[in-house]
Symmetry: C2
Amino acid sequence: MAAVTSMACRSAVALSSVSRPSSALRAAAPRASRTGRRSVNVQSAVELDYDVKVFDKELVTFAEKEEYIIRGGRDKFSKLPAAFAGIKSVGVIGWGSQAPAQAQNMKDSFAEAGMDTKVIIGLRPDSPSCDEARAVGFTEADGTLGEVFDVISKVDMVVLLISDAAQAKLYPRILAAMKPGSTLGLSHGFLLGVLQNDGVDFRKDINVVLVAPKGMGPSVRRLYEQGKEVNGAGINASYAVHQDATGTAADIAVGWAVAVGAPFAFATTLESEYKSDIYGERAVLLGAVHGIVESLYRRYTRQGMSDIYGERCVILGGVHGVVESLFRRFTRQGMSDEEAFKQSVESITGPITRIISRDGMLGVYAQFNDADKKIFEQAYSASFGPAMDICYEIYEDVACGNEIKSVVNAVERFGRWPMGKIDQTHMWQVGQKVRAERKEEDIPINPFTAGVYIATMMATVQTLQEKGHPYSEICNESIIEAVDSLNPYMHARGVAFMVDNCSYTARLGSRKWAPRFDYVLDQQAYVAVDAGKQTDAEVIQAFKSHPVHSALAACAAMRPSVDISVGGDNDNTGVGAGAARTDFRSVAATVA
Amino acid sequence: MAAVTSMACRSAVALSSVSRPSSALRAAAPRASRTGRRSVNVQSAVELDYDVKVFDKELVTFAEKEEYIIRGGRDKFSKLPAAFAGIKSVGVIGWGSQAPAQAQNMKDSFAEAGMDTKVIIGLRPDSPSCDEARAVGFTEADGTLGEVFDVISKVDMVVLLISDAAQAKLYPRILAAMKPGSTLGLSHGFLLGVLQNDGVDFRKDINVVLVAPKGMGPSVRRLYEQGKEVNGAGINASYAVHQDATGTAADIAVGWAVAVGAPFAFATTLESEYKSDIYGERAVLLGAVHGIVESLYRRYTRQGMSDIYGERCVILGGVHGVVESLFRRFTRQGMSDEEAFKQSVESITGPITRIISRDGMLGVYAQFNDADKKIFEQAYSASFGPAMDICYEIYEDVACGNEIKSVVNAVERFGRWPMGKIDQTHMWQVGQKVRAERKEEDIPINPFTAGVYIATMMATVQTLQEKGHPYSEICNESIIEAVDSLNPYMHARGVAFMVDNCSYTARLGSRKWAPRFDYVLDQQAYVAVDAGKQTDAEVIQAFKSHPVHSALAACAAMRPSVDISVGGDNDNTGVGAGAARTDFRSVAATVA
């Protein structure tokens, strides 16, 4: 953690005012406390601590590491007036994935808390998004919809939710327009990466805070609405204080997290957040899972004749026996297109995802019989190293600023080459057919597929861990977002529905890294398996005994109790304005 | 060109002492001149001109652009003593691809010219390369083999041929060790990119020059040896003067190019060279061609049963008719593995490569019948845009320093994850079988394959042209290196023999970008063709009328008249110490 948080910790974050018990005391057995402190096996000092006064902090142990978390929920709305003291207006800038959700949630929460703090949407007057904003009650007439820079110059808090690339382009004007003593709220540390690349800094007379909900905008709204009836529903968020000009920045940040509906808020820094976030979506969350299923689908169909052919042969009666043997002789492990899709994509996005969500990665392993455990181990053992290689490359490309620079450059090229569709290939056409005929309970749990996928998930985890990220962040950016937020989207409507419902940064990153995982698995992992390479017992032991399993279990206790639901190919549940999109644009960076 | 050359032109390059005729004069009809000036259709001023005194410059028109070139050859060896005036010793540092070739060529040339300038190899005393150097006559005993920094501190010219990553790591020590007034010779502008990333500059009291042979080290040696008997044999080189501390740097650079055997030397800058070189190997030279053949092979085999199966069916006699129709019904355009390999890889590396080398890209188009022309056009039209998208991304990632930073980071990771093999997959195993049974004259010229490949080649060209590179560089980095140097390696022994006989920078870049071309062609180009998208007549017209064809023809007149020859799978011609390698290492950056 030292490397990624040192800046924020040293220069911008006041030390906590919560007195911490001595480590000797905390090393005793678990005990309850006033704040519901639940864990005490301290192995290292808490490295991230912000000066939160209005809300209570709790110490939680994720594996061997201790972190402060803050509990949200509707019963904490009564603290919002104190957290937002002095903030009479919040300007939500943009109308992409997060803005419609966060703006509506905050507006509802402020009303619930009896506050008169206004939520105002800032958009270009000619933006097509204005109509969508008006449709959910933000209007020029009551002063809750206005021009971007006009809104920025008037509000006490700017929640900047325009695209990463637009932030990169417009930040000098945005920062200049803000009132002294006001608060800049970010939902992504991307802008800090841009500033680092540019060798500049935020102006010193404003607060700079972050709240990053660990789910896509549509889920943030959907679960907030469910939270009105179901206790604990809502999307968790990480939060950070990068600059505290007013001495109240930490409570503003936590208040914002609570107001958008986070049941729990985890501490991070802008730098730790952008590194883990941009990395995670390039690894197992989007890029890797796409590359994995492409490579597996190809592997499973290779040299294969379709099942249809096999069936027709049966119909042919007389020639059956001969053709049947030829079929076996020449197909090797060939599968039909439909079967291969089930054994790769469906297996991951259906049962494997559900089991990880409920019982963790070890749960997937545990439910296999001995023969399938061997196949899982072989696939895992062969895939983990190659996946680590690519994960490290991604992480270091993110950490040194390359990925951010590439994204900014790429968006500038959209005018000439808009992002193309990724799901028009034969495989994804097959997928549409498979989904149409899907029987959820018949989807296989392929042990080879599970081994490759979970090895890549563990590589994503292991890299973040070696780079010093806190476990709350590791679990969210490597596992929870995958199984509770993103994979269900691919399960519903295929790969593009998952990838292209994310930010440009994510969509570009997924396009960039999916093929890398595909090739490395094909060239290194599958070749090793086919050559009969022995399972590496050390690699399997490291998997089984990895501390992330207990950290994930700790996180699980804090996850929403309501599933994200989104309709399938012919069902528009969770789809539409301000929710998930089925029509994907790639336009030049502008204020949406 | 302005952007990429401005620094060198403004700050480091003295204006030419060759008086140039007025443009009015030069706009007249072609005429001969004392210097053999051959072209006069001036459309723009010559943008790159160095202060060469010992050698004669010639003005050549490449398409609409005029460039100075310098003619080398063994009959110019008599000028070497003047060019190397004051240089009593040249230290060649490293023993990778270029060093054995350049060191031996220079040594032979100096002897031929009756000079006593010594060529001294600098290596780590414990380097396994020392034995290879001794084997070709560089020894401690006669003072022509020594420790790296010892050699650097004593010689009048340092030819720095250690790996890019090692240069990035060691340059502060190397620069510090050099004698004032000595010359730093580079064969790649990579180091300038590193310095730019680091925000530093070369020390001002040394010359900094570049000679970049347009072929791999083994070819540089092989064709030099052939040049002793065959007039014009040798590998062309680009040259540049980045700093001229002594006023003689341009002649040192050209002398070096002539001494290593370049029949012609083209002017460039360090920046233009590293951008086009790092870009080119990621595009059509290595990365793209690998991605293209992977995607085509998959396309051609998709849903395919093997021909073997078809043949067996024939053998089955009775069931022939039934199975034959099923075969047609279910295979769509399916081909056997062997056939698909021939129609993709073999087609490109064999006849398409040979025709481009002899008759240019239009030559490939011209030899098709009308039906095949249509297929070519459809494939070209669908592939050009997607290929441009990736070419631009590569170029801009190189130009902004990202690729150089990534390479330096990647090499640091080799200790943990050495580069894996890329040719153990099923497709390349098939290739080995196909090569073993190859009849050169039976290799098909697949019009679809040709369309995809040439579209990507043209995208590589077009991007360099839009970014302002001179045509000599464009033709070399997009076309000539491909057809005269690299593709023949893939033809001989497959993809790894081509890719992994290049530098770490190239090998890493090819691994990174091949899958990107693969995916973009699969997702955008082939999908468009299968959806029946019409050929874009404008795209085809732009191809047919592109100025690069005449520029390539001008370059062709300057290409060596001897083919590069390298043995196939069971033939070690051109393979071995100091030549091509069949055993590929990836180790941490050190002085080899």
